[in-house]
Amino acid sequence: MSKIKNKFLELKSKKQKALIAYVVAGYPNENGTLSAIRGLVKGGADIIELGLPFSDPLADGPVIQNASYIALQKGINLSKFLSLVKKIRKETDLPLVLMTYTNLLYKQGYDKFISLARKAGINGFILPDMAIEEAGEYLKAIRKNKADSIFLISPNTSPKRIKKIVSVSSGFLYLVSVFGTTGKKEKIQQYTIDAIKNTKKLVDGKIPIGVGFGISNPKQAKFFIKKGADAIIIGSAFLRLIEKLPQKDIETKIAQFTRSLKAVTISQ
């Protein structure tokens, strides 16, 4: 069974929700990423999402744009990314999800890219610019390599379309909580609450629902869990924290912040 699916089952039996943490590979540098991952693991994150930077990240807000830009400037590339994943795999058994843009897979060939990433230890893939209509070759490669394809839905996705998306999704379904790019800070909107409610009804337990984009603190995380999220996805908030830290403090501070977030996913 897939590592991601297993993780959700395990959490369910413990009456917990999932904390999914995103960091950009190679930001602030390779060792910094490793320290951050150690912090995430220590702090109790359930799934780790690793961003492989793309030159034109059009679904990302300023924080991830900047982190991607710096990581690329410092020379992150596919082979360095894969060796980083291998290092991480030696330290943790948590599910690892790769988030990047379609072109980096297309350029290598979907099958080659996905099989390389799988061998290094990646379990699932998120491509924010991959629409299901274009996903034929991608999904073939996903199945062949026994990986999970995590698709995104948005508050304006129609019920009919959500069903179609669910039918090709595995691992979890990524519900984008806001109209906007990653890291958008906004007070909680009614439409987000409605979207969680409606999606839950439509999905009917077939796949866990992760809510992300713009969640930055335990209070918001707690709120969305109360409204029905199976997982909380946090990215920009971690990167904002890393931005301010000297290398030596990354691990402990990230662990601390992770603990505060993980706490709200454990039902009292």
């Binding site: 034109d56 379609t102 297309y106 629409a131 274009e134 948005s154």
Partner: protein, 400 residues
């Protein structure tokens, strides 16, 4: 060869819709509206009215007698898009899309711009139709093209400098897409070339096809036949596809000319179809300038309007099935053509269009005197005189 309306948005394998999920309802709404209005009589009449009375269509097809004599080959005609309001073909597209946005009851228009030509044309169309517009422009471009920023402001647009990455056109498109994701319900994204997710490439082509349609009927009138060859410059590819599309089924040779910059063997050029490889950017599968891993490369051209690492998907299709020959012209040759046309015909062409002129100068002699070649003169060069002056001064210095 002629794909009237691309099924599932595809020109062969190219095009499609590689977009964040939030934009799916928006492009579906756009496609629905476009299909509804493109054959609507009132819409067509209204657009024709603005193209005629506001933009100045039809544009002349001018026989460039002096240039023809100087070169000594085919007769050279100039399709004078440079005479349009705003000084470029861009207004054909912005009037069409702004009118569509109005029919869709959109309250806010956003657009990207590189050099500022599409931004200015958007600001004009929006002012004429009473729509508020905001323009994204790379910070570097705002500095290089200060006058166009001021022009857009005069026309009632606000210009947002984009600080991301290389701070040029591709970043401006990224940022416009991000704005669109954020304000998807209220906002219309008025894309400036035949690029982006379906239906933009086909819609922009259709709005620009007025160029090729006029060439066809004007040539029939003047020469009693269709042109033997047409030549247009290719940035995103809108003036070129507008020139080519109506003639695709005819026996006309076609040349799309990209920016060769300092040479396509260097990494300072924007010759996407000549030197690129297939990939996915800005919602479409098409040829791109990218590295081995798929990171998009920085591009260069003396003509800011050609300075883009992608190209419209229909051009990728026409390249692969060899209907159109895509070639490139260097900065230096474009400058030479700019000077030649100014001197011999009294017409200062945009540096973008100068690439097409340079290519015509190169190949006209291979044709016989009974042949006719049409160059689409996509814009006028007033915006470029300073760039050309600096380039010439620099060369004088280098020679010393």
């Amino acid at each position: 060869m002629k794909i009237k309306y691309p099924k599932a948005g595809k020109f062969g394998e190219f095009g499609g819709r590689y977009i964040p999920e939030t934009l799916v309802p928006a492009v579906e709404e756009l496609e629905e509206a476009y299909l509804k209005f493109k054959n609507d009589k009132d819409f067509k009449n209204e657009l024709d009215y603005y193209l005629r009375e506001y933009a100045g269509r039809p544009t002349p097809l001018y026989f460039a007698k002096n240039l023809t004599e100087k070169i000594g080959g085919a007769k050279i005609y100039l399709k004078r898009e440079d005479l349009l309001h705003g000084g470029a073909h861009k207004i054909n597209n912005t009037l069409g899309q702004a009118l569509l946005a109005k029919k869709m009851k959109k309250k806010r228009i956003i657009a990207e711009t590189g050099a500022g030509q599409h931004g200015v044309a958007t600001a004009m169309a929006c002012a004429a139709l009473g729509l508020p517009s905001e323009i994204y422009m790379g910070y570097k471009d705002t500095q290089r093209q200060k006058l166009n920023v001021f022009r857009m402001n005069l026309l009632g647009s606000s210009v947002h400098p984009v600080m991301e990455g290389t701070q040029t056109l591709k970043n401006a498109i990224n940022e416009a897409i991000r704005d669109w994701i954020t304000n998807v319900k209220t906002t219309y994204y008025l894309l400036g070339s035949a690029v982006g997710p379906h239906p933009y490439p086909v819609m922009v082509r259709d709005f620009q096809s007025v160029i090729g349609n006029e060439i066809k009927s004007q040539m029939k009138e003047i020469e009693k036949k269709i042109p033997d060859a047409v030549i247009a410059c290719v940035g995103g590819g809108s003036n070129a596809i507008g020139t080519f599309y109506p003639l695709l089924d005819e026996d006309t040779e076609m040349f799309g000319i990209e920016a060769g910059g300092e040479g396509i063997e260097t990494d300072h050029h924007s010759a996407t179809l000549n030197a690129g490889s297939k990939g996915v950017l800005h919602g479409m599968l098409t040829y791109l300038l990218q590295d081995r891993e798929g990171q998009i490369l920085d591009t260069h051209s003396i003509a800011a309007g050609l300075d883009y690492p992608g190209v419209g998907p229909e051009h990728s299709y026409l390249k692969d099935n060899k209907r159109v020959k895509y070639d490139s012209v260097s900065d230096q040759n474009a400058i030479d053509a700019f000077l030649t046309l100014a001197k011999y015909e009294g017409i200062i062409p945009a540096l973008e269009s100068s690439h097409a002129v340079a290519y015509a100068i190169k190949i006209a002699r291979k044709f016989s005197k009974s042949n006719s070649i049409v160059i689409t003169l996509s814009g006028r060069g007033d915006k470029d005189v300073e760039v050309v002056e600096n380039y010439l001064n620099q060369n004088v210095k280098n020679k010393k």
